[in-house]
Symmetry: D2
Subunit: 102 residues, 4 copies
């Protein structure tokens, strides 16, 4: 988010950025589609099917982000060990818990 991002070490998802953005654009379109269906008085059950599709798309994005995060940020911290590694693992676990409970 700063002018230095191009020289900063890339985040875990750097290699999947294009795929993530494409998937998020599709998810955004699905949510907009749900709004349009509500606006056009489409039958409730058909709207729910579309809501489930959007939710699943977001879930796939989240799982990709977690895998990339473990493979890079967490793995690098673990390789260094010590309190930084512990903090990274606690942080990742909390994010996983939020996802499982959402």
């Amino acid at each position: 988010m700063t002018a230095e991002t191009t020289v900063a070490p890339p985040h875990g998802y750097a290699a999947d950025k294009d795929a993530l953005l494409k998937r998020l654009r599709r998810a955004e379109g699905q949510v907009r589609g749900v709004a349009r269906m509500v606006d056009e008085d489409v039958y409730c059950i058909d709207i729910l099917t579309q809501v489930s599709a959007a939710t699943k798309a977001l879930e796939t994005v989240a799982l990709q982000l977690i895998e990339d995060h473990l493979a890079h940020c967490v793995a690098e911290a673990a390789a260094q060990g010590g309190p930084v590694a512990d903090a990274k693992i606690a942080e990742a676990s909390a994010a996983i818990a939020r996802l499982v409970r959402s």
Copy 2:
């Protein structure tokens, strides 16, 4: 979705339409926010927090749609009884199952 929608019996969510549309517009903004965060190389965990918020918003929409559907479409079919009632309840149960498993 047809020219007759204004005279057709409204769907279960008719009374909540404005609230649903407002919530969906916010969810759409949240998904767009996630894409922007990915594009700007924001830290993975912060993106995951935003994905969870968008997922929860969609979940709230889905639960509202189900409650409205039960209170109107399913209740009216149940009042009539017979195979139409059975079909409505089976259809609602399948939608609930998709939501629970998504």
Copy 3:
């Protein structure tokens, strides 16, 4: 749970009682299996697979109970209409929300 249960109108799941009990006995065995795996120091990932199986089994029980509840208790209340019907539908919706969020 009272002495009158044998003459009281059966609950929605009466016809599925045997199937539900069989499924619950299997789920109980799966949870006991998870405890045994922890006790015997089985590899974490293998335990997680078994936890997911037990969770899915409980989810299937819950979805069956909801479908039966809609098809009987809620449908009967809806056929009568009025505040009792409204209360039943609000109660069912709250139970569905708890399930979706758990």
Copy 4:
């Protein structure tokens, strides 16, 4: 699971073993409670509340196992790096995905 378990390197959850076993015994009791409620024709909604409690208990066990697994098995593999680290992270990610989708 072998006679050597006492000398084998402990799994990630070793330090939490007692707490996990206690939680699993409670979850098992909750599932047995659900079966008893079905057997005694308890009201559907009350059974669903108990099913949600059992599901949440299993979820907490799963999240604890994942945190321990990341903090030990995955962290140690990451410290070594190479294909073993990659395989551990892919395996953990798949387990997280199964949990999120269950």
